[in-house]
């Protein structure tokens, strides 16, 4: 490395040597150079980098509003033009873990530099922020600080090197979680493997047939059941909304729903949609629906039933998403968001969801 890396380190009031619990309400302050565990960090880095500044904030202050505080902290971090950012490690400290995670997320997103922290598995900051940072696994006390610092620096150096991970088909700069001791970041990747899929399959099936132990490559989830809402009693007076995941959108796809692995949904006026529409979904043959969208979203029948008085009213907005290979967690979130929107509108009594 020709130039020394510029590093900024985030710490809480305790590790930042401002004070203990009684100082948890201090606001942001910046100290020049490394402080507390930052000294160990600097020693581990050696000539490769310089901790130019340490940004400190009280855990209580930060926890009051993590997003706002992360923004403020980000400005302080950015002013030092870092190549690399470390937060904590927070070990098992709950509020501290959230501060570290939020700072990492903000810095990573805005500055595009590697952001590294360290946390114990059970802290809230881990689950909330594992996707946005590289969080090394730690024990639940600060006794393992030297080992954790070593892990964090090793991981950071690997990230900063821009080295491609050749075992990935995508050849991204993405080191393996088990090799660098960090919490997986909710990503799935194709990785090269010594054995072919067929070889692994026959080998494991033979073990299963012989009654020997075998390891499945995937363990299916158990989904939690939702208690069913009570039935609709007065259908003749009820306003019903239509929802679909078949990808029916207004012509031009204004909300840019994707044909595959889509993450968005839209709310559209039914009358306008019926006049000009398109389908954005790569998982089924779209032409039948393009010819007659009622085949996916039964506008015609619902209007008829409303006229006949069998239902009270068809809600004039149609809620649409495209459900081709979207991961179930995001589908659940979209369901929550659509549900919240439906509740907000107050008049909707029930919904019909049509799927391909």
């Amino acid at each position: 490395m020709a130039e020394k890396l510029r590093i900024v380190h985030y710490l809480n009031q305790f590790f930042g040597q401002v004070g203990g619990e009684e100082k948890a309400s201090t606001g942001f302050l910046v100290k020049e150079g490394p402080v507390g565990p930052g000294l160990a960090l600097q020693k581990e880095l050696g000539d490769r980098g310089q901790v130019v500044a340490t940004v400190i904030c009280g855990d209580d202050t930060f926890a009051l509003s993590p997003a706002k505080n992360a923004e403020e902290g980000l400005k302080l971090v950015a002013s030092h033009r870092p190549d690399l950012f470390f937060a904590g490690p927070a070990f098992a400290a709950g509020r501290y873990s959230i501060a570290c995670g939020a700072m990492c997320k903000a810095v990573g997103a805005e500055l595009g530099i590697p952001v590294v922290s360290g946390m114990f598995e059970e802290v809230p900051g881990m689950e909330l922020y594992r996707k946005y940072a590289f969080i090394c696994k730690t024990g639940n006390t600060a006794r393992s600080m030297p080992a954790v610092i070593r892990d964090m620096v090793r991981l950071a150096m690997r990230l900063v090197s821009g080295e491609k991970e050749m075992r990935l088909l995508t050849r991204e700069n993405l080191p393996r979680p088990d090799e660098y001791n960090y919490f997986s970041r909710n990503l799935l990747r194709n990785e090269y493997c010594e054995k072919t899929i067929a070889e692994r399959t026959v080998e494991k099936l033979l073990a299963k047939l012989r009654g020997e132990p075998f390891e499945s490559e995937v363990v299916p989830p158990r989904f939690e059941k939702v208690p069913p809402p009570p039935a609709v009693r007065d259908l003749e007076g009820a306003e019903i909304a239509l929802i679909s995941d078949g990808g029916l959108v207004p012509k031009g796809n204004p909300d840019r729903l994707a044909r595959r692995s889509n993450l968005r949904w839209g709310a559209y006026d039914i009358e306008a949609l019926r006049r000009e529409y398109e389908v954005t979904h790569a998982g089924y043959f779209n032409d039948y629906v393009l010819e007659r969208p009622d085949r996916l979203v039964p506008f015609d029948v619902m209007c008829e039933l409303a006229e006949e008085g069998k239902i009270g009213k068809l809600h004039p907005t149609f809620f649409s998403t495209s459900g081709c290979t979207t991961v179930s967690k995001r589908c659940g979130e979209m369901g929550d968001e659509i549900g919240a929107e439906i509740k907000k509108r107050e008049t909707i009594r029930a919904a019909i969801l049509t799927s391909t």
Binding site: L169, R176, L188, E191, A198, L209, F214, V327
Partner: protein
């Protein structure tokens, strides 16, 4: 049924006045090949190129990749039902050329999702085809020929080319002979070895272009295929071909079917290969249930298998047919190993699975099929298309073959991922 495949190692390809193979070099009379292809009136003209590893060439609009093979001891028996007379594939002797393939492009295609192969750079590194020599054909449609009809003509031209090349090498000595000998009616019933069958899901109609299924089984489409018992040699020897599009599958992969070859490798040593049940993914729920029941019955009560490997075709919907068949097999006491294809780059492995029956406790990841990768590489020459040919991306963006970086899903890169189980790929959580 016994099949012998004699392999000829080809190290180089060149154009020549006579199509023949000598000392590892395959000489191709390009004019003669062109005339052969143009016998089909649906084809107006055809571009033929010899393509080598390391060339800065991007091959576009790929519909298939085919290994050159021909029947040695039979006449008009190649790819029966497709270009050869209908008869059962899988017995006698077949000649196969190694290290060379036929690249079939359809430059007139209206399909949006078409295969791309670079002979240098990242794609060549990822795909076994990036290291082989190729004869690339790109036919153009004659006036008044309907789209699907032309697609069939292009496919047929590819198959004929594959046969023509293998025939031309008849004077060259073979470097090895592989024997696929499985006498299913007379399998050793007293053996202690477990009997294992392969449930081979060979199609899904959800992607059908213009709502017409691709013919891929003895020349016919399999949209409504009821579960069918076949001999594994029929799959290896030209009874089954790839779709009219690359979707993590091509004819070359089927000719070298990963799971079938692996079961043959273990046959007589660790297991008895009991046979193959072919089935398809269904769009109607009743057909799905019917297919699952019938397939499980064939596996258990006709093939007498104790174990079954359920091989999956590309797509989300096929997980359901596969898992329903798997559950029915387990209900009958047949132990299953089932494929799954995680279809999103985000989530955990558990998140992506579309079934969770407790009996399906051995699940193998058969690659993240739609994984996107950025290919940073510039071609100097384009075959089967031009620099302005669109490259498919699921996001509503525009990208073209001539762009310095393309964002492409791996299932469109032939040979990188393979539904038959040949890929040395596993899906891991990062």
């Amino acid at each position: 049924m016994k099949l012998e495949i004699e392999s000829i190692d080809i190290k180089e390809i060149q154009s020549g006045s006579k199509t023949h193979a000598q000392e590892g070099v395959l000489y191709v009379n390009l004019k003669e090949l062109e005339e052969l292809i143009l016998k089909d009136a649906r084809i107006k003209s055809v571009d033929i190129h010899l393509v080598y590893p390391g060339q800065k060439v991007r091959v576009l609009n790929l519909m298939d990749v085919i290994q050159p093979r021909c029947k040695v001891d039979k006449v008009d028996a190649d790819f029966p039902g497709f270009i050869g007379k209908m008869q059962i594939a899988g017995s006698g002797r077949t000649r196969s050329l190694q290290n060379v393939a036929v690249l079939v492009s359809n430059p007139c295609t209206n399909r949006k999702e078409n295969g791309v192969l670079d002979m240098d750079g990242p794609i060549a590194e990822m795909s076994p085809y990036g290291k082989m020599n190729h004869i690339s054909i790109a036919p153009y449609v004659a006036a008044g020929v309907e789209e699907r009809d032309f697609e069939n003509a292009v496919k047929a031209a590819g198959l004929k080319t594959a046969v023509y090349l293998a025939r031309g090498a008849d004077q060259h000595p073979a470097s090895k002979v592989e024997v696929y000998d499985l006498d299913i009616p007379n399998l050793d019933r007293k053996s202690n070895l477990p009997r294992v069958a392969c449930y081979y899901q060979l199609y899904s109609p959800q992607f059908d272009h213009l709502a017409i299924s691709d013919p891929c089984f003895y020349g016919t489409d399999v949209h409504h295929l009821m579960p069918t018992v076949v001999h594994p040699n029929e799959v290896l020897d030209g009874g089954v071909v790839g779709w009219l599009a690359i979707k993590a599958l091509d004819t070359y992969s089927i000719q070298n079917h990963g799971v079938i070859k692996e079961l043959y490798r273990h046959h007589g040593k660790d297991l008895i290969f009991a046979g193959v049940v072919c089935a398809v993914a269904n769009m109607e729920p009743a057909a799905r249930v019917r297919s699952a029941c019938m397939a499980a019955n064939l596996v258990k009560n006709v093939l007498g298998a104790e174990g079954v490997i359920l091989v999956k075709i590309t797509g989300g919907m096929p997980h359901i047919d596969l898992s329903m068949a798997g559950e029915e097999c387990e209900k009958l006491g047949v132990k299953t190993a089932i494929f799954t294809q995680p279809l999103t780059p985000v989530g955990t492995l558990s998140d992506t699975i579309l079934f969770n029956a407790e009996s399906l406790n051995l699940i193998i990841t058969s690659s993240a099929t739609f994984e996107r990768t950025k290919i940073s590489w510039k071609a100097e020459k384009f075959i089967g298309g031009t620099a302005e040919t669109r490259v498919f991306c699921p996001d509503p963006i525009d990208q073209f073959a001539g762009d310095p970086v393309i964002d492409i899903e791996e299932y469109l890169l032939p040979g990188v991922l393979d539904c038959t189980g040949n890929s040395r790929v596993i899906v891991k959580e990062y």
